[in-house]
């Protein structure tokens, strides 16, 4: 117990000694640590920004191709046509049996006409089942996504994208706005939500309207197999994707004649190696590389300044040795000064990176349209602090070696 107390006392005394030394020489230390702090901010910021940008890219890819693991299910005859109603009927019991919670159809159909204050608006249509929103991370900007209750309502519920919403006069969702749909049959639908637009061009697009599949099939003209299709998607655990795909393919195929080919394919970005996020890794590594060079230069500057001031320190070290500091204590003390200083700079650097990445403008720039913003990566902060402490230890070793070679009386009489 006593030995533990003595060891703790030695550590505390060394840290206090280092801190006092830094305090006494704050101007010199501050100047030499600016570079370290900025480099740590750059490294931490690059790692954290990379993770946010990666999430943004991944979400974008997942909106297009699905989350890991997404399976598409089709059954085409040898003429290339399919019967989506029959497929849905045959797939339903399989989905229940295999316990697949997320499954949705997506109809790639004809445009839909909406009545707007400016006249008839021909919008793109996206007919989906309620699970589609979660499966594709559809970012709802206002209001809400479809629920299963919407499927039972007499009046159809729709969501519109931002472009269509603006074209409709940006009605307040709190007032339960409605829109008249002109189609094979006309109906009045309630706008329950607004989603971010996937189409950046307002000039060429009047926007997109999201409907539930059954509502769409009722309102829109009959599907033309040459221009329309109904795709069915399943979102399954990544580790079970392959086995489930094989099982569903086999069971469905057994229910169709040989002229119909059942396809169950995985098509999310993770299935083909991570997509654009892989390219980002190289950018991230490049940024970390540049920041590391800055850090190296800052460390060299720290060593340089410490060595230059060693003339001043020789006397002080001599005094400490005369009053009982062992060689080991002097070595650890000088290294600790450097470590305490760079750790302090590291904390400031990490804080700068955190503040910069919390800035809404920066978030908008690197994580545009992100649905699930990742928290500031703790790993990046830990890496930043470890790098700072490591640099401090390395930068402190050379001056510490000089310090332990000091001859006490000569140093004191210096």
């Amino acid at each position: 117990m006593n030995r533990l107390r003595e060891a703790f006392t030695t550590v505390a005394a060394t840290v206090i000694e280092g801190w006092n030394e830094l305090r006494a020489q704050r101007t010199r230390v501050l100047m030499s640590l600016i570079g370290v702090g900025l480099a740590v901010a750059a490294i931490t910021g690059a790692v954290a920004a990379g993770s946010i940008a990666e999430q943004s890219i991944r979400e974008g890819e997942e909106r297009g191709s699905g989350r890991a693991a997404s399976l598409s299910v089709n059954a085409y005859d040898d003429m290339g046509s399919s019967d989506p109603v029959l497929l849905a009927e045959r797939l339903e019991p399989l989905v229940e049996r295999f316990g697949i919670d997320y499954h949705a159809r997506r109809v790639y159909g004809e445009p839909i006409a909406l009545e707007s204050p400016a006249g008839l608006l021909r919008t793109e249509s996206a007919a989906v089942d309620p699970a589609w929103g979660a499966m594709r991370r559809i970012p709802v900007e206002h209001g809400r996504w479809f629920t299963e209750r919407d499927e039972r309502m007499l009046a159809p519920a729709v969501l519109v994208d931002e472009i269509a919403w603006e074209n409709l006069g940006s009605p307040a969702l709190g007032e339960h706005p409605t829109v008249r749909i002109q189609g094979e049959r006309s109906a009045t639908a309630e706008i329950v939500g607004v989603v971010a637009s996937q189409n950046s061009s307002r000039e060429w697009s009047a926007g997109t309207v999201y409907l539930l599949v059954d509502d769409y099939l009722e309102l829109a003209p009959p599907l033309d197999p040459t221009t329309s299709s109904v795709e069915t998607y399943l979102w399954v655990p990544e580790g079970e994707a392959e086995a489930l795909a094989d099982a569903i393919r086999a069971e469905l195929q057994a229910q169709y004649p040989v002229t119909v080919s059942v396809q169950v394919e995985r098509n999310d970005p993770a299935a083909w190696g991570g997509g654009a996020a892989t390219g980002l890794l190289w950018l991230q590594l490049g940024l970390v590389g540049v920041a590391s060079i800055v850090l190296l230069l800052a460390a060299l500057s720290l060593v340089n300044i410490t060595m230059v001031t060693v003339r001043h320190r020789v006397r002080e070290i001599g005094i400490r040795r005369a009053f009982g500091a062992t060689g080991r204590r002097v070595f650890v003390g000088v290294v600790m000064e450097s470590v305490v200083g760079t750790a302090f700079a590291g904390v400031i650097g990490v804080a700068i990176a955190v503040l910069a990445l919390q800035n809404p403008w920066v978030r908008e720039l690197i994580g545009d349209g992100i649905v699930e913003p990742p928290p500031f990566p703790i790993g990046a902060a830990v890496v930043g602090l470890l790098v700072a402490v490591g640099v401090g230890a390395l930068a402190g070793v050379l001056p510490a070696l000089v310090a332990v070679r000091v001859r006490v009386i000569e140093a004191i009489r210096f």
Binding site: R320, G324, T326, R413
Partner: protein, 232 residues
């Protein structure tokens, strides 16, 4: 038993042409606990080398130093550092206070290397010692804001704060005017007697040397007793 005993101590160094240079030769000295001894000598007489040896900062090339009943040759480097920190207090000519640090912070320095009890009570112990040397009102003053006499009193407080058995004073009045030097020397003498510490003063000032119980002269590396009246 003497606190410190030098028996036939010699110290020589090798010159670049590999020939030996004898700095000290055949030095015998015994200092008892609480005793005051002064050593006078000109520049180049070997005072610094003797100070290194007395302060356990160096080892003799011949002879033996016995510290508190134990031969120095049996000490490891760490043992020497620890014994020095625990049992020896230094007072220097140029005070050697740490600049930018307050009188209290300077006095605390030796307590950073003491055991747990004294480390955690360091502020209380150092404050009491500064009050003892008459600087209770100047705890927060840095050396830049203290007079020469006050700085040397801080140095004395620092030397005594761990309760050493031996105080080594190297030209303690060398940077002070005569009157201040005399006051500082009286203080050093009084405080060391009150704490029971032995005091070895190395000086070239016969008046300072005369304050000691015994006086020695170091000349060309040899130490010889000096009659008090002849210290000059």
């Amino acid at each position: 038993m003497s606190l410190l005993r030098l028996e036939g101590v010699a110290r020589s160094v090798r010159l670049p042409d590999d020939s030996p240079l004898d700095i000290l030769a055949g030095v015998d000295l015994a200092v008892d606990a609480g005793e005051h001894v002064s050593i006078v000598g000109r520049s180049g007489s070997g005072k610094t080398t003797l100070l290194n040896l007395l302060g356990l900062l160096d080892e003799p090339t011949a002879g033996e130093i016995v510290w508190d009943g134990r031969a120095l040759s049996s000490f490891s480097s760490r043992d020497r550092d620890r014994a020095r920190g625990r049992d020896i207090g230094f007072v220097f000519q140029q005070f050697n206070l740490l600049s930018g640090r307050s009188a209290l912070e300077n006095t605390i320095v030796p307590l950073l290397y003491a055991g747990s009890d004294r480390f955690w009570k360091r502020r209380t112990i150092a404050t009491a010692m500064l009050e003892r040397v008459g600087l209770g009102e100047r705890l927060a003053s840095t050396p830049e804001h203290l007079s020469g006499g006050e700085q040397q009193r801080v140095a004395i407080a620092r030397a005594l704060v761990r309760g050493p058995k031996l105080i080594l004073a190297d030209e303690p009045t060398g940077a002070l005017d005569v009157e201040t030097g005399a006051r500082v020397m009286r203080l050093l003498d009084d405080v060391s007697r009150a704490t029971g510490a032995a005091l070895i003063t190395i000086t070239h000032d016969p008046a300072i040397a005369a304050l000691a119980d015994r006086c020695y002269r170091l000349d060309a590396g040899r130490l010889a007793p000096e009659r008090m009246g002849a210290a000059a």
